[in-house]
Symmetry: C3
Subunit: 471 residues, 3 copies
């Protein structure tokens, strides 16, 4: 690849007949609008529509995909602009941070971060080259100049990216002020919240007791009892739905959905209010509440998203010094067949329910998720996520699940973005990989090209629209 | 692919040099006889040799691969001709069922079901097109006309398919009447039973107590004691062997083979007769009996087939309403290294024993199964099975096991068929995928073309013949 | 492939554009020196520099990769020259053993053993053909003649192989005499020991009590207390480092690294000295000591290598009759995220520490190892090892880890050799597979050819040099 511009065939299969088919399939999806149904962009970005700050603050410091790689090679967090609780002084000069990143560009060879950044730099910003030790300063200036132009503000990019809808992820107690500001604004962009109640469902969350009080205050319901707690959650879901939310989001430690009796749940809740809980009880209550959330989804129609199997803050000292989301969340083996059974046995054939499951443990694709999604109407397979949202990761997903679950039990691409500028890069990559996979089915005479094109459009656009009940 | 006829290169690799080699390798196996050593065709089909009924009863209603996909998209079981215990009226019109299926043909894109059905329709039945909403009725009539012709009766197809032998799967208590009818008939087709004693070895099976009495009656042995139970099983195995059986088949929850002392086993058996058992005891007794079955196989020469790791009837309400085998059996993580150790340590180097293991958890291929089969003479790797009997599933199997176990510790293809018409389609697919894998070894200069051709013939024909002691 | 000489493109991808790129990348690494940082060659081989014995003793009898395959097809150990404790007479004629192997050459189709042997025979020894039943005797004579020539002695081959350094694996109690002989010799070859203390850290090791006494005697430290034991280990590490060791090697049952309190550890140690231990205590002490080893590595700079997850001596009767390392060590499911957490939380960001982890359970590549190595500075991913040191095994490793950990958190190739002659074959294979993987990134426009060439050289040479602190 030349450093100056993106190759039109990037991430398509090399074999000529397959590439030719892939090009044709990709062409049908390249310019489709983006449905961004799951991600971590802050609504304030679009409510404010302020210019992006400097290159380091835009690309380096807040992106844990990027900082973790530099940290893995011995670069201190502080040198990347991340302050710690220790004595190490934090780098304040964005240019120095940017330079540090550019010097280490080779570390990203073969990673999706590299793929996204190439797109962001060359395609979104249209700068002249890729990072290197030599061009760090020049590139910094070039990017900074772009960011100062009005067409590189968030809303202008939102439109240029053809984002049809952008879902954020919001704590259950969020007042959704930024969403209200966007709604009140004549700007027509659609930005919607997603209900994420994890911190309330895990009774050992750091601020749980205070959050329960805040929940009572926000909803006007007495949360002193389990019954009140459940009712208050129902009202928050309703408030989210009224603010445009289409879905909930659940990042539990496991996929357990065992339903307790109301009496058992009420006892665990009362104990938690009294400050008493043990790990088993915490996990049991969270699993129970996931089941309750499914029941509520049947009633209010919010699509349920579950992504278990991550051990958060693997290095407790990093968490203590630098805070959460610093790249130290590490996957563990996941289990779905037994864990989801209570939920699916109760609601899995209820036509009102849609549950999308994500995993960072690929071993469950063919063993558990595809067989489950291939029979339960309520269950859909979420896109490869987090570490797996990568060229080969996306390809392995299709290879592992399609033969058992088909295409139509998957939920379409989810960009799971933090970095706003990476949104179109991620959708573009997924469309290319799906095109390549479909092209192989065509050249192996397992699908006609016409069917492949139709399927690609379904995966990129029609399927997520339908799954999230927009069509 | 044109809808009208199968492409000769389907499922072969796209890369031209590899495809050329694959074609040559496949050509050597394409017309070899079929050894169908494991499947679920009913012997009555060939004993009766009645014409197949209508297209819906042939292709849709009894095939859980097919119905589960339709169910996953919200089609009620009843609409597919499967009666439930509820109030929903069941569709009785086969034409309506067939139409429902045809309208949903797109759901099967990328699945092996699609691959098999294309073969069955275009190659076996020779109809003019593939299912679509438009041609549903015309296709129905076309198929129905074929099924009325004598050359589409089971025995005629058996011969046309070049089936050398067809093994059925039969409960230990089966009187094997249909097999006797076939044997008594001048028709030369070879149809043999397989001994499946699961229901007797799990003391919590629904009819266990009655079955134990029936076992006593069939064998003339008092099954009131563990010793009698074991002796009666030995006699049933003998009866199966006399009826032509070459193998046993064991669908246990896990691969555990821990041997109990005779006293422990006798106590668990006595308790079970008295109606007392707990899950641990049930599992321990079943694992013990698997070990006992291996010992008997050393004596009577029946090849032992083990396929653990499936959670049956994931949705209990489906089982209660629609019965078993409705597509709600879901894999769980499997373990073989520790589980098979007792069996292998006792009999794994006994030249009289052959044990074939199957899995629906692909993670054990390279981690456990290939290393085990690559050293124990008695152990052989069964073909990818159930959800994994698919183009990419078959390919991943060879890629994961060959480097450690080679080709000659695998047992050849097993079609695991329910649908009689799909038998040749499944063998054809396996031969194509093996040809493609071998062709890659050739183009990567890891194997000569001559060796590849010889290996392909071994995999398709000579190896299963030898493993099942027919040669 | 012709039997007479190796094809220059073996193990490179078939697709022409990818192969062209792979050739160019491979050409840059083909002739680089070999860094053999982990293996099982006996230092005596190079200290003595005696001619290799006959072909059977060189290629067949001591190689468990090879004997296990023959055993899996029913060949008795004794027929391969391995004496057992039973009555079966052992074959003493090397020619008969060699013939037995040649007759079974087809068993190795598709295996890395075949790939290595082709290289060893055609490239290293330059014989005229590959094994077959027909040419067994002629080939035997041809090999035997080669082995008698001075340029096929170990040191001459060491030089011809361009081995820059060869690390052996040595028990903690090894006097390292052979290493001393090599050092004292004017021959300039660099052969260094590796510290392997497993037998001391597992208090249920067969000779543990005697070893503890020997440890005291070697170090002059009283090992009657836990504190003395730890100090004695520290001194042995120091002795190894002085003899040139750069690393330690730990083959534990699991990756557990839970640190006990000194009091707990001292109690378990004291109990063990008194002959009292249970499996939980044995495992807890071993896990604790792995953590202690990491602490010592911070101090003395020895690179730590951990490879858990193998159940040794699966068939106890084989161990009892034929001894260890007969091919009956079988992998089990591995876990790293939780197991390594204590070690990594304590030392994972310590710039003095380097820990390389190996696995024979591929499921942890993308789920656990790449995410961990992609953030912890101390952690590096070891090469695919044992059963996975194969064409497809090596490829799957890069595909599974690169997208999350990049290339620069891997530690370079490790040949893990027993058979001295296979060393260059193994490095050659790894370089070819890495070239093929990098070439795919180039043809998919994810990396420039120039970057790919640089990366290939890093993987083959610069990276292991840096990781093992030689550069």
């Amino acid at each position: 690849m030349t450093a100056e511009k993106l190759h039109p065939d990037r991430a398509l299969p090399a074999e000529p007949a397959t590439r030719a088919a892939a090009r044709e399939i990709y062409a049908a999806t390249r310019d489709l609008p983006l449905l961004c149904m799951h991600g971590h962009v802050d609504a304030a970005l679009l409510a404010d529509d302020s210019p992006f700050p400097d290159p380091a603050s835009l690309f380096v410091t807040p992106d844990h995909y990027l900082t973790r790689m530099l940290v893995s090679q011995g670069v201190p967090m502080e040198a990347l602009g991340i302050p710690g609780s220790g004595d190490t002084p934090v780098e304040r000069d964005p240019r120095a941070i940017w330079r540090r990143f550019c010097e280490n560009w080779h570390l990203f060879r073969g990673t999706p971060t590299r793929f996204w950044l190439e797109y962001e730099l060359l395609e979104v910003l249209g700068v002249s080259g890729l990072p290197s030790a030599q061009n760090a300063d020049a590139l910094y200036d070039e990017i900074a100049a772009r960011l100062a132009e009005p067409e590189f503000r968030p809303r202008a990019l939102f439109e240029r990216f053809r984002i049809e809808v952008l879902a954020t992820t919001d704590p259950a107690l969020s007042p959704l002020d930024d969403h209200a500001r966007i709604k009140a604004d004549p700007w027509p962009g659609e930005v919607i919240p997603t209900f994420r109640p994890d911190a309330l469902l895990y009774v050992d969350s750091p601020n749980w007791r205070a959050d329960i009080d805040a929940l009572a205050e926000m909803t006007g319901v007495d949360t002193g009892s389990y019954r009140g707690f459940v009712e208050a959650l129902r009202l928050r879901r309703q408030a989210f739905a009224e603010a445009g939310a289409l879905a909930t989001d659940h990042g539990h430690a496991t996929a357990d959905t065992t339903r307790l009796s109301d009496a058992q749940a009420a006892r665990l809740y009362a104990d938690a209010l009294a400050g008493e809980h043990d790990p088993e009880g915490v996990a049991a209550f969270a699993g129970h509440m996931l089941n309750v959330m499914a029941e509520m989804s049947c009633e209010d129609g919010l699509v349920m998203q579950i992504h278990p199997g991550v051990l958060r803050d693997h290095d407790p000292a990093v968490r203590a010094s630098y805070g959460p989301d610093r790249g130290f969340d590490i996957p563990v083996a996941a289990e779905f067949t037994r864990s989801l059974r209570p939920l699916l046995a109760s609601y899995g054939r209820d036509p009102r329910l849609r549950v999308i499951v994500y995993t960072v443990d690929e071993t469950v694709y063919s063993r558990e998720l595809a067989p489950l999604a291939g029979v339960y109407p309520a269950l859909l397979l979420g896109a490869p996520w987090w570490f797996l949202d990568s060229p080969d990761g996306l390809r392995r997903f299709r290879e592992a699940v399609t033969e058992t679950a088909g295409f139509y039990n998957t939920a379409g691409f989810v960009d799971d973005t933090r970095a706003f500028l990476s949104i179109p890069a991620r959708h573009d990559l997924a469309r290319r990989i799906d095109a390549g996979y479909l092209a192989r089915l065509v050249t192996e005479h397992r699908l006609s090209l016409e069917e492949a094109v139709e399927t690609a459009v379904d995966l990129a656009y029609r399927l997520p629209r339908r799954v999230f009940r927009r069509a």
